[in-house]
Amino acid sequence: MDFELTEEQKIIQDMAAKFARRELEPVAAELDRTKNRDILKANLKKLAELGFMGLDVDPRYGGTGAGTVAFSLAMTELGRACASTTVTTSVTNMVAEVIQSVGTEEQRVKYIPPICSGEFPAGAFGLTETSAGSDAAAMRTTAVADGDYYVLNGGKIFITSAEYSGVFVVWAVTDKDAPKGKGITAFLVEPTFPGFVIGKDETKLGQHASSTNELIFEDCRVPKQNLLGKLNDGYRIAVSELAGGRIGIGSMALGIGLAAIDAAAAYAKDRVTFGKPLAEHQAIQWMIADNYTRLEAARLLLLRAAYMKEQKRYYAKEASMAKLYATETANKTCYDAIQILGGYGYTRDFPVERYYRDARVTTIYEGTSEVQRMIISRSLLGK
């Protein structure tokens, strides 16, 4: 049992914290208001150059090879400053990891280096459809073999980073007659493939600068060598690989929560009510104490899941616990942070309202809290 970070982990945590303070924080509010893609992409490029787009990817493909604990620490530090940039980074890391995990050597050599170097601003996952969110296996996009290609037809929605991704992992039904979940295959799709159109960006409550688009496949031709993993094994890949993404999102949510409660604690020391600083009223002290305690607990759950993944142990339950707890906690913390800032917390002049809006989606995407509870309870009940 050892709660000390290694030198490398501390360095990466430090680097992420510095980058967050110097590059992300100064532009986060503007990004939220204007969705300025140039600013977003410039920062994504810098992050790639610093090695943040392949934190758990083998250096021979251009990754940093620092491990999952370092990845978690980095997502938390970046998450303190800008959720939009951080979710893009987390998802992009996961795309690189999936390709490394199940891809052929040719696929790895072709697609991972441009992700890690920043040549591709981002990577994306095309899984969700209008009728298939939590129930991903209910998807209807099809992929039919035709000579040297697979032809994709259908659509995806809510796809993070679609507008500026260099590569997509797209799941489609390859065997309509197979039992549910057994006839789905993953493919590597480039934005320039014929028949692939990226729809417009959703208008969301938060994480504005992160694009969330529809994907439309109309007889989209994907070369056969872009089949990722094994035929009809796609659903299993999605389930096992997405567990890593839970650590990323949970870690980011922890960062958002920390930023919120830090802002509230600082405000509470200055703001005077009834003749003394807010921080001297027990009601406020209690909110501060409870939120930091819960966030600490969330941190430990996240690091445990990250450690288990690094050790190549089965970590699905632990990842779900960490994602569930960290994201729900972050939402509560942001709610309390606005409350502590009072009327000012409700205005755009202070960042807590943005943290609150950015945190809201974290209990939803990459597996809703309900899906996480399903996974956890199944594990407990031995199902």
Binding site: M1, D2, F3, E4, L5, T6, Q9, V69, D262, A265, A266, A268, K269, A279, Q282, Q285, W286, I288, A289, D290, Y292, T293, R294, E296, A297, A298, L300, L301, L303, R304, A306, Y307, M308, Q311, E318, M321, L324, Y325, Q372, R373, M374, I376, S377, L380, L381
Partner: protein, 382 residues
């Protein structure tokens, strides 16, 4: 960052678990009913090293780290919360101040009998007018030639009715405020002027005696002073930090019993032609219970690790205690709910867990004090 237990930690966890399951669990319900002090169990626990987990081996202890202590506390408390607190008070509130502040003679004399399970230790701090505000204690100790004369009454002293030794806090200098408090080691069986007062009837942890200690011109030898004169308050704060890890672990143990029994029950109980574990309402309760218990346990182990490595742990111990106790209480309430009508009946253990859990939010620092400590630590750093 390493979440793997060492071989020693695994060993003590396994040993405590086996002992708890085979020897303690079968009698836990009866202990709760009869309120009997589990003297035989305590003796056996002593032989296993559980009454002196962190006491160095040269004083008869097991010489293990605080993570080992927390792991053992969880296993024992899972079977019986009363046994858990008896063990915790001996380890954290008696042994700790003696081996931290005692002279060589005191360590040689007092640690071995408690660590071996031969005798029980207790901590005489709380009084009727001094709970969360321990600086308000009014028990006095006056030096008269080669004896201290103690006057005052302690309340709510865990193990007070069965302890031979007591680490006592008393005022030695009324004019010095909290700097006028000193600590003493008292042999309750050989102290003229000491008498046992009321033994409390409680909601839970019934096999753990909670007693009033009455000192009327009680005389103890001059060598009974523990540490320096006027050092008592500072000793108390450090001692209680460690005690929080013990109580946090006790709460986790109660929570683990609740979770395990709830899972088992929900798989077997059928309504509407299926086990109730098929219903999401029940699955959600189990998922939340397990997640929060894991989170709280990590906070407890982290605090124990910090103490082991001599790093500051005041805030982390308070976080661990407040979260573990709140989670255990919430879990126990849900556990009764999951058991339905049977959860309300003494025939099933769940109602006892709910009664046992409540005290963990109160003693060894109320959760209000815990929040004060956490907030103070955080706000000071900005």
């Amino acid at each position: 960052m390493d979440f793997e237990l060492t071989d020693e930690q695994k060993m003590i966890q396994e040993m405590a678990r086996k002992f708890a399951e085979r020897v303690i669990k079968p009698v836990a319900a009866e202990l709760d009913r009869t309120h009997a002090h589990p003297a035989e169990l305590c003796a056996k626990m002593g032989k296993l090293g559980l009454m002196g987990v962190n006491v160095p081996s040269e004083y008869g202890g097991a010489g293990m780290d605080y993570v080992c202590y927390a792991l053992a506390m969880i296993e024992i408390s899972k079977a019986c919360a009363s046994c858990g607190v008896i063990m915790s008070v001996c380890n954290s509130l008696f042994n700790f101040p003696v081996y931290t502040y005692g002279t060589e003679e005191q360590k040689q004399k007092y640690l071995r009998p408690v660590a071996s399970g031969e005798v029980i230790g207790c901590y005489g701090l709380t009084e009727a007018g001094a709970g969360s505000d321990p600086a308000k204690i009014s028990t006095t100790a006056v030096l008269k030639s080669d004896e201290w004369v103690i006057n005052g009454t302690k309340r709510f002293i865990t193990n007070g009715n069965v302890a031979k030794y007591c680490a006592l806090a008393a005022v030695t200098d009324k004019s010095a405020g909290y700097k006028g408090i000193s600590s003493f080691i008292i042999d309750l069986e050989n102290t003229p002027g000491f008498s046992l007062g009321k033994i409390e009837e409680k909601l839970g942890i019934n096999a753990s005696g909670t007693a009033e200690l009455v000192f009327e011109d009680a005389r103890i030898p001059a060598e009974a002073l523990l540490g320096k004169l006027g050092e008592g308050f500072r000793q108390m704060l450090t001692t209680l930090d460690g005690g929080r890890i013990g109580i946090g672990a006790q709460a986790i143990g109660i929570g683990r019993a609740v979770l395990e029994e709830s899972i088992e029950y929900s798989k077997t109980r059928e309504q509407f032609n299926q086990p109730i574990s098929n219903f999401q309402a029940i699955q959600w309760k189990l998922a939340d219970m397990a997640t929060k218990l894991d989170a709280a346990e990590l906070l407890v182990l982290r605090a124990a690790w910090l103490e082991t490595h001599k790093k500051p742990y005041e805030k982390e111990a308070a976080m661990a205690k407040v979260m573990a106790s709140d989670v255990a209480m919430a879990a126990a309430i849900e556990g009764v709910q999951i058991f339905g009508g049977y959860g309300y009946c003494k025939e099933y253990p769940m109602e006892r867990h709910m009664r046992d859990a409540k005290i963990t939010q109160i003693y060894e620092g109320t959760n209000e004090i815990m929040r004060l400590i956490i907030a103070r630590n955080i706000l000071r750093k900005r």
